[in-house]
């Protein structure tokens, strides 16, 4: 279970922003809070961190949404470990370096 608090930055296009708000309010995973100009407060509940990540990606891609900031995350011993990174390597140039966390 993952619970997040998100700040959604809405488009300056009023129609797009309104459309996005309606979509968000109809999403069962979200509790939509107050709006402050372009910023909308949202709580998100998903089944897993992976689902949470997918949700944020989905929100980012939503027409009328410019950006999503994370303001809060619930975590405890049930949280999955953070993502792995490659072991230290010698002599690798920056261009060869994989985006190990991406």
């Amino acid at each position: 279970m993952s619970v997040s608090g998100l700040v959604i930055f809405l488009s300056s296009d009023a129609q797009l922003a309104q459309h996005a708000c309606e979509r968000l309010r109809s999403d069962q995973r979200l509790i939509v809070g107050d709006r402050f100009g372009p910023r909308l407060a949202v709580a998100a509940e998903t089944e897993s961190v992976a689902a949470d990540r997918a949700l944020v990606d989905e929100l980012r891609a939503l027409p009328g949404v410019e950006h999503v900031d994370v303001a809060f995350v619930g975590f405890d011993e049930h949280s999955p470990p953070t993502e792995p990174r490659a072991a230290p390597r010698a002599g690798a140039s920056n261009k060869e370096k994989p985006d190990v966390l991406g």
Partner: protein, 804 residues
Amino acid sequence: MYSVDRRDFLKAGALAAATAAASRVHGVSLPIFEPQSNGTGLRWDKAPCRFCGTGCHVMVGTENGRVVAIQGDQKADVNKGLLCVKGYHVGLALYGKDRLTTPLLRKNGRLVPISWEQALAIVADRIAADPKRFSFYGSGQWTIPEGYAANKFVKAGLGTNLIDANPRLCMASAVTGFMSTFGVDEPPGVYDDLDTCDVAIMWGNNMAEMHPVLFSRLVDRRARGEKVVIIDMTTRRTRTSELADEVLFFKPHGDLAIANGIAHQLVKNGTIDKAFVEKHCNFRQLAAPSADGAPPPMLGVPMTLDEYATAVEPYTPEKVEQLSGVPADKIVMLGDLFGQRGLRINSLWCMGMNQHTRGTAINCLVHGIHLLSGHLGKPGDAATSLTGQPSACGTAREVGTLCHLLPGGLSIANAEHRAIAEEHWNLEPGRLSDKIGYHAVELFKRFSTPTDQGGDIATIWVQVTNPGHTLPDLNHYFLNKAKLADKFLIVSDVYPTATTELADLILPSAMWVEKNGMYGNSERRTQQWFKMVEPPGDARDDAWQVIAVSRLLHDRGMKTMGDRDGRWLFHTVDAKGEEVPIWQWNHYYDLNVDEHLFNEYRAFSTHKHKNLAPYAQYVLTRGMRWPVVEQPDGAWKETLWRFTEGSDPFVAAGKGFQFYHSVTKDDRALIWFRPHEFPPEMPDTEYPFWLCTGRVLEHWHSGSMTRRIPQLHRAMPKAYVEMHRSDAARLGVASGDLVTVRSRRGEIDLPVWIDGRGSPQLGEVFVPFFDEAKLINLVTLAEYDPYSKQPDYKKCAVTVVRKA
């Protein structure tokens, strides 16, 4: 699984946090977990946040040997229960999957695990082989006791000054600005000035993202109906700009012209605070350049007020507009503001003024206009430099882990200061070297240069920082090391980084609440915490690593690891007077080594009136701002406004103000004239864009901790290049398109972001530096300020080319 009640609680907390962030009005603490009432064993303890220099206090919830919760500390004056998004997640910084847990030695290109005994022996061998070619390199992430141990190890134990730290890249120009103006380092004011100022001026400072909890103090005042004017002087539109009353875009190095323009207005309008200036200030300028091109001495030569007036006369509003790009009427407006004695003005800056090839000059000029107009030393009237690292002030500046300093603000170059240090450390007279060591850029240049070509540094031991990511012009100042078989890099760290990629030996370190610690924040506040959880695997405290190597060298017969009586430099006894073998890991926590080191260091603090209280006082508080002086009733009292009668205990009665470490030895501060000068590298036809680099809200420093926190990584996963919409159109690129950003030193591929988090001016691009996979410091310039030796990461010339 969460209980229903618990889930509801978390959702309510999540929505409250999002609402607070969205409204930009913070008013409540937002715990991730509440203390459990059913006896599950959750325990809460105080600690300063691990990340920036603000010094927010968090309450850390631990259970079953793990950090499981974080909340803002309501008892902390700095943050009053608030935290930024990084602070809420700071507990997760401990639990990245790839924590370093065992010493690793590079053999035939591969890292292989070795024992601590082997590792310590290798370090000792490298040092013993040639102590004069060994250097330490640390940071403002060293705790105060850790930095003190490393400093003593090098300066007393090895008899060199070959130690420097990341603050050289971060706030060294603030130091030289304070030293040039007041004769002593660190701000006269405190964060309380944010609560009382009428005008807050950001000098190239994106405070909303970099110091968000402090910025919220200004925003909160507005929300409560108070009038506070925010002026954002910036080279690019940022989140700070969104909340500013005035946004004044200036050209790179335009800040020098703006400050002189304000001074000119004060002189021309007759709004100088003559009484203050006549009683408390002298005027100063640099001597003429010498024939050999060496910079003139930092402390300059005297000038009169009339000569000063003549020097600033060319900086008319129209001339300043030409030099800075800020409209003339806005220069007049700024001059009028400073000329109003009834207003309280707080100037705030961070890397914009410090990472600057004229960083000392602009720091001096901003202090100068505050002195000239009398806007200093009263609540709300302050010139405040903010720091980027949690103990840049407490450790690097106060403990003196730099190549020219001794603890307590004492100077290597001063024979009396060296004698004081020798006395404190019980060394024979003359033990301490008078030869200033290498500053960070020079140090790594010499490490990355072949020995037979002048590369006289053979071994560097890096702790708590990531120079392979953060040095400028990495190809020349770091990556060349890969070709030099006789150079040896030792890195103590908690995660693999760009620096460990070239390390020959990696030592796994404990971090934050896995050890005892003390930090000192941007407002002279010294903070303390206790170890709460065990480090993973074989990770061990940085201070222990230093102490263990010192003991090994001592046992091998290196006499300088002892004092003049032959007693080991870190000899520590318990309450019964019996020595505790703190060099042995299983005995390191038999007593509180931090307390012993801090109380020893504390003796240095009185010489420059940076008085510290005994360790036990910091256990009881959320930090105290020095000078901290014992009162007749035995209480220890902190100081808010330095140099101000009634606040600073060292100001004599009847003085009003007393700059008691004055450069001119007459209790006066210096108002400097420094001219506008153009940057050493500017855009041209081949490299037509300015490049500026910096941070983002979600990531701290090189991202080695915050990028391992999934929530922060998810919020800001990759670096990008911000471009002006018109520049992007001319290049035929849109947001998300890949471009190559190239300078004379290197290149990197990045996705474009137009009108994103920030918006550069036409002809300027911005790249955040947190992303290890996209190292913008392959591109940046290593030119540095001649006095602070701090490089300029904010301006160099690049070209931007669309990728096919």
